[in-house]
Amino acid sequence: MSVLVGLTVQTFGTSAPPATVILQGQSRTMSEVFPHLFSIFLVLGTLVGIVVLSYMVYVAVRYRADGETDELKDSPQLGELPEGGGDGRKLAVSLTLSAIIVIALISYAWFLLMGVEGGPPEVSGEPNSDKPLSVTVVGEQFAWKYIYPNGNSSYTLRVPDDRPIELTITSSDVMHTYGIPKYDLKTDAIPAQNTTTWFNPDETETVEANCYELCGTGHSEMTSEVIIMDGAEFDRWYAQTTSDATPTPNESTTEGAHAMDHPQSRLAHNHVLV
């Protein structure tokens, strides 16, 4: 048992240094927080798992009945009333240890959560960051519609790489969950409710957004492109968009499959709700 104790204490120790880093109250994106925390959980989880499971297998082999040896003293008898078999202290120690590990890990995760929930850094406080771009994301069976501050809307998300992006997410029909795996970002799209999340694009690339909540026939293919542009290029593109621009399904979605499932074919449906 002392092996278990020693190992768990030791492994727990490895998570201590980063804890000092994060207690500075700065805002962090999910793509900073998630890989960091996930790897800590993974390493510790694997270690604890290996220790406990190896101990279990060791005990199983060690105390395996070899058939010939005589019965244990004081073995349980048929019809006896159960007695609490002692060893309460051993249990208490093990429980305390596991509780310390779990609670420490979760508390650390909670501090990181504060950073994520704080939203993008304040403009005034941090001179380097530009004013965040706010985009509204509307889930509709089976596409994602993006509405920009100037009223322009599109089925592809175009964002600049030089400022934080704030997303406000909702749904016009059923529940969906919006997620961009590349940026470890995910939140529910709920009818008549808004949820928010944010991220910091760092390189110009095209990534994918998925749906993570079963929302009907087209759920598996409810994806959309997220195009991260150079900041200046984005500004030029954004300047020529207007609120009148009504997207057509094929304009922005490259995969033809989406056209079939486009929400406009279901508008009649949505009216039933209203």
Binding site: G45, G49, Y63, L78, G79, D87, A192
Partner: protein, 831 residues
């Protein structure tokens, strides 16, 4: 152990009947039909009739186990269809909607129609044996639970033939689940099938709780109960409350689908959030409801096969108790990605971590039990050991999900899928161990040991090959057939594992089937070191289980002569006047009949909104249900309560009354969920902006007085019954009936008035909540009046003068209905 205990196998007939009570031969004069329904005797196991009529807990247990295994095959085939689809990262095997139906029905079948019923097969068989009861408290209700379960499953199967089954996932999130988005009749059928299943569970919960709290052998206090029985006791308490919340959710959803109410779709109210709250309030306790019986069985097997008593048994029980209580306080951890605020997220993160710690203790307790033991790796212990092994992995990966930040990213991915399969199917593994463990007790024969061990290794390998790659491929979104191509290899491994696991299940089933004939016969206790009472009686046990009255008063199990039973320990109940000669009934055709009636009725209801053939089906089903319920009520079915038993904490009230109390407790949760839904929607809409539906509160006020008066009349009827005044009873009940009818007429006028103003259930969310909630109450009133109508002619014949308890039980129900109205009236008419 005393010597007067008889475990002589020869005293028992091979069919399980007790030799000392020869089966009565039906005389040839009886008509065939009459003979078919002759119920004083139980036909032998070979006869189909036995299985249709039996109310014996052991027979019902076997029926549950066998039926659950059939549903396992059904759900397993669906799982394999999914795994075949996932061999490639694109959709090429099932249609998109077909895949969604497969995902949804697989989840529903495995969680509802397989796991719990499988565990409750053992609970049915073993719990009465472990506590020293001859049967459950209400044997006919037990059979009814089983038949409702079977027919609810058949109804689910039928849904595939009604334009497609439900396709919105086992979580059934709204508003995807309403007809605007899912118009198939089959989806309604699925929801109704689940409703029928919940009714079965509720009946079963009332029965088990009454049995376990009132019928324990003298000396068997709660603290001394075996761990399997403990796990079932806590499971059933959780079931009683959690399933009542699910029932409310399903009734509301059915109403949205069939009656056109707008709970989940109305604009300006948070309908979809309402569903998530209702569902997960049920859904989290459900995780433990499914897992606890497996845990209890694991504890039993660990003790038996290590030859040691469970380490920290007391703390093990305390842990289960804490989990059971706390399971109702963690549901919002399933909603971390919704719009709930940070404070609530933090709170639920804390409760979630809090609930994980007792599990650590239970795991350590099981591991330490092995230390210094003599471990015999029989097939059941291999399964129990393997189950603990994978449960630890499931538990560790679950801690990831408790950290809100990680949950943000892991939610909706295969991490969740892998995690809960590691936990849930770990439970299945333990229950397969339980099947092997109790197989000799159930059948009197030993399974094939070599095949048993082979089935374990295939099971264990298949399990890990199936679910472990899902952790590595966790970035796959849940419930999609279209996943990142680079993860293909892991999904293909998982598919191979899936088929291996499926094969292992078939091997288990085959082993159990073949060994019915091939297995060597076993003694009463084939396992050394088993301590619980089921191993002290023959395998299989005789019809009424024990050779004498089981008692633990001497400090260990004895079977006493019934006459010489000491009466100083437990509570003594005076023999009930209605019990005849101590000869208990063991068969009834009505549970099956009621279930068929309910099945036809629910099938009709699924499409009744579309008219056509469904209208006559509904009418036939309703008629059938009414007739069979009447038959059930009129049947004379005798059950004796044990004269001496441990009954803490319900010593003062008899079984029937406790049953009514427990049922009302679940009904409180049902109404609580309805009222909670109303308050939630109204708060989301704006409390003040919400318009009260009735134009005038006066009819409601009058109805309040009517109900109060009627409650008073029931009390008068009871007093008259106690004093032996027949006409007083009749007058009290008749006045109650008339007042109830007056209530309904008054309500009818009020509703017709509203309909005239064009206010219907579907008009707006205010009308929806008003009509549905007060309608549910009205339905309770109608049900009460049906009971009174049944009681009045009996009262005329003087039925309640010797035994006034039926009047008292009805009174409890009627007062409850009355009290509910006292809450509904201000909420829906005034505030």
């Amino acid at each position: 152990m005393s010597d007067d205990r008889s475990t002589d196998e020869s005293a028992v007939q091979p069919d399980g009947g007790h030799a000392s009570r020869p089966l009565a031969e039906p005389t040839s004069k009886q008509s065939t039909l009459r003979r078919f329904f002759t119920r004083d005797d139980l036909p032998p196991y070979g006869a189909l009739r036995r299985w249709l009529l039996t109310t014996n807990h052991k027979d019902v247990g076997v029926l549950y186990v066998v039926t659950a295994l059939l549903f396992l095959v059904f759900g397993g085939v669906l799982a394999l269809l999914m795994r075949i689809e996932l061999l490639t990262p694109v959709g090429d095997f099932l249609s998109a909607d077909g895949y969604n139906q497969t995902v949804s029905t697989h989840g529903l079948i495995m969680v509802f129609w397989f796991l719990s019923p499988f565990a409750f097969g053992f609970a049915n068989y073993i719990v009465p044996l472990q506590i020293g009861a001859k049967d459950l408290a209400f044997p006919r209700l037990n059979a009814l639970s089983y038949w409702l379960y079977l027919f609810s499953g058949i109804l689910l199967g039928l849904s595939f033939f009604q334009g497609g089954s439900f396709s919105g996932g086992w979580t059934m999130y709204a508003p995807l689940s309403v007809p605007n988005y899912m118009p198939q009749i089959g989806s309604t059928t699925t929801i109704l099938a689940l409703t029928l299943f919940v009714i079965s569970v509720t009946v079963s919960s009332v029965n088990f709780l009454t049995t376990m709290h009132r019928m324990r052998a003298p000396g068997l206090t709660l603290r001394r109960m075996p761990l399997f029985t403990w796990s079932i006791l806590l499971t059933v308490w959780m079931m009683l409350f959690a399933f009542a919340a699910l029932l409310a959710a399903l009734l509301i959803l059915s109403s949205d689908r069939i009656l056109g109410t707008t709970y989940f779709t109305a604009e300006g109210t948070p309908g979809s959030l309402l569903w998530t709250h209702l569902f997960w309030f049920f859904g989290h306790p459900e995780v433990y409801i499914v897992f606890f019986p497996a845990l209890g069985a694991m504890a039993e097997m660990f003790q038996t096969f290590t030859g040691r008593r469970l380490v920290g048994r007391k703390w093990f029980i305390v842990s289960m108790l804490l989990v059971a209580l706390q399971s109702f306080l963690v549901w919002m951890h399933h909603m971390f990605l919704t719009s709930i605020n940070l404070q609530i997220k933090t709170l639920f993160m804390i409760t979630t971590i809090g609930i994980s710690l007792p599990f650590d203790l239970m795991v350590f307790s099981l591991i330490y039990t092995m230390v210094k033991g003599r471990l015999r790796f029989t097939t059941p212990f291999l399964f129990a050991f393997g189950s603990l092994f994978v449960f630890i992995i499931g538990g560790i990966t679950g801690v990831f999900l408790g950290a809100v930040v990680l949950d943000y990213q892991l939610r909706g991915t295969y991490w969740v899928v892998a995690h809960f399969h590691y936990v849930m199917v770990s439970g299945v593994m333990a229950l397969v161990g339980a099947l092997y463990y109790w197989y000799p007790k159930l059948t009197g024969r030993m399974y094939n040991r070599r095949l048993g061990k082979l089935s374990f290794w295939l099971f264990f390998a298949g399990f890990n090959l199936l679910y472990f790659p899902m952790f590595i491929a966790w970035e796959t979104p849940r419930r999609v057939f279209d996943y990142p191509a680079e993860l293909t290899g892991f999904h293909q491994l998982a598919t191979v594992g899936g088929f291996l696991l499926g094969f292992a299940f078939l091997l288990v089933i085959w082993n159990c089937y073949r060994s019915l004939w091939d297995g060597e016969t076993v003694s009463s206790n084939p396992w050394a070191h088993a301590t619980t009472a089921e191993w002290a009686i023959p395998s299989p046990p005789p019809l009424e289980n024990f050779p004498g009255m089981p008692s633990y008063e001497s400090g260990s199990l004895d079977f006493l002569d019934r006459e010489t039973a000491s009466t100083d320990g437990g509570t003594v109940t005076k023999p009930t006047p209605s019990s005849h000669d101590g000869h208990d009934s063991h068969a009834s055709p009505w549970p099956l009949g009621i279930s068929i009636g309910s099945f036809v009725l629910f099938l009709g209801l699924s499409g009744v909104a579309t008219g056509g053939i469904y209208v006559p089906i509904t009418i036939v089903g309703g008629g059938l249900l009414a007739v069979t319920l009447l038959g059930f009520g009129l049947e004379s079915f005798s059950v004796t309560e044990p004269a001496v038993a441990e009954r803490w904490p319900f010593a003062g009230i008899e079984n029937g009354k406790l049953g009514v109390w427990i049922f009302l407790a679940s009904d409180i949760v049902l109404f609580g969920a309805f009222v909670g839904s109303y308050v939630f929607l109204r708060a989301g809409y704006g409390w003040e902006a919400w318009k009260i539906v009735p134009h005038n509160p006066i009819p409601g006020l009058i109805n309040t007085y009517i109900l109060l008066t009627s409650s008073f009349c029931v009390v008068l009827a009871l007093v008259a019954a106690q004093k032996g005044r027949r006409w007083g009873v009749v007058a009290g009940l008749t006045t109650t009936l008339l007042l109830g009818i007056a209530f309904l007429i008054n309500k009818g006028i009020e509703w017709i008035e509203l309909f005239h103003h064009n206010i219907w259930l579907s008009t707006d969310v205010q009308a929806s909540t008003f009509f549905l909630t007060t309608g549910l109450h009205g339905l309770h009133v109608v049900l009460g009046l049906v009971i009174v109508l049944y009681m009045i002619p009996r009262a005329l014949n003087g039925a309640y003068l010797d035994d006034e308890r039926p009047v008292e039980y009805f009174g409890l129900y009627w007062h409850f209905v009355d009290i509910v109205w006292l809450f509904l009236f201000p909420l829906f008419y005034i505030l």
